[in-house]
């Protein structure tokens, strides 16, 4: 009888570990890389932000990004000034945010190294305008970290970013946004 109970207990334990989930795990980064690119026949403009903050909930797929506008670095100081003062008015709106989720989070196994295609949906807020965004991305799991990358386009007009007529031929109406992040487990 004792042996049976012991055997059952052991079997339950083993069975339990087979169902180990990613429940409760959160991943984050404070050095996320987001950069945008505007292409026109006159000029190409590029700016990089290496201080993006983001958290992903492994169980629900919920993801949040927080982007400091003044942390976008341009090659030309004058362009950076115009960007902050005129286009995004960063003193008034210091942060852009994204709140959404990886809609197919169940397809991602954070415990198994590999590349996973994901779909991300959510709301992007720049200045005082919020618009829904949906895009594809790639998650590459390696050990207890993973990289997440994605590329999508936004229309500047959708976010109240006004380009003065004088420079309208230098700045594209739609710009490409690239996301390239390395997430590690949040240990709390």
């Amino acid at each position: 009888m004792k042996k049976t109970i012991l055997f059952l207990f052991a079997a339950l334990l083993i069975a339990g570990t087979a169902f180990k989930t990613d429940e409760g795990k959160k991943f984050f980064t404070r050095t996320g890389h987001i950069w945008f690119y505007s292409h026109t026949s006159v000029e190409d403009i590029e700016a990089h932000n290496y201080k993006v903050s983001s958290v992903i909930d492994a169980a629900s797929g919920a993801m949040e990004f927080s982007v400091l506008m003044t942390a976008f670095q341009f090659e030309k100081a004058l362009m950076q000034e115009h960007f902050n003062e005129n286009y995004v008015e960063s003193t008034k709106y210091p942060k852009a945010t994204f709140k959404g989720k990886i809609s197919n989070i169940k397809d991602v196994n954070f415990s198994k190294d590999g590349s996973y295609s994901v779909t991300v949906t959510g709301n992007l807020t720049i200045k005082d305008k919020t618009n829904p965004v949906s895009t594809k991305g790639t998650l590459v799991v390696k050990g207890d970290q993973f990289t997440a990358s994605s590329k999508f386009r936004i229309k500047l007009a959708d976010y109240n970013v006004e380009i003065p007529k004088m420079v309208s031929n230098k700045i594209a109406e739609e710009i490409d946004i690239n996301v390239d992040m390395i997430y590690a487990e949040m240990k709390r």
Binding site: F28, T31, Y50, L68, A71, R188
Partner: protein, 138 residues
């Protein structure tokens, strides 16, 4: 008539030179500019935590000398901007300092737990208070 033309030409030239200089004006030399504030990492973080709007008004785009204790190793997730993190006494956030790539070697010599003074441009707060264009002040 000729005199007028010459004056116009000179003005036009001056305008072109000015526009060229403006277009190519250099980024602020943070290291070479006197700091606006000298504060501890804990105090800076506290200011942003307690009243972010007021802290932004006070510190955003200002040059700050922050003193603090390094937590963790040099972060090189972005080779273009190696980062050091300073303790704030708060579990949830640090003062995150981004440096030029050229300083990577020098920065990797600094040990976690040691006290440093970092001079940089304050960019605001996400989960952490962020400084960029940083240099180490000995």
């Amino acid at each position: 008539m000729k005199k007028t033309l010459i004056i116009i030409a000179i003005l036009a030239l001056a305008g072109i030179i000015f526009a060229y200089l403006m277009y190519n004006k250099p980024h602020k030399d943070v290291a070479g500019t006197p700091s606006d504030f000298q504060i501890s990492a804990a105090e800076l973080y506290k200011a942003f935590n307690e009243d972010e709007a007021a802290a932004n008004t006070k510190y955003l785009e200002k040059i700050i000398e922050v003193q603090g204790i390094i937590v963790g190793d040099l972060n090189t997730d972005n080779p273009a901007e190696p980062s050091l993190f300073l303790e704030t006494g708060d579990d949830f956030g640090v003062v995150s300092c981004g440096f030029p790539q050229s300083q990577t070697e020098e920065l990797s010599q600094l040990k976690s737990g040691s006290t440093v003074k970092v001079k940089g441009l304050c960019k605001g707060k996400t989960m952490d208070v962020v400084l960029t264009n940083c240099t180490i002040i000995e």
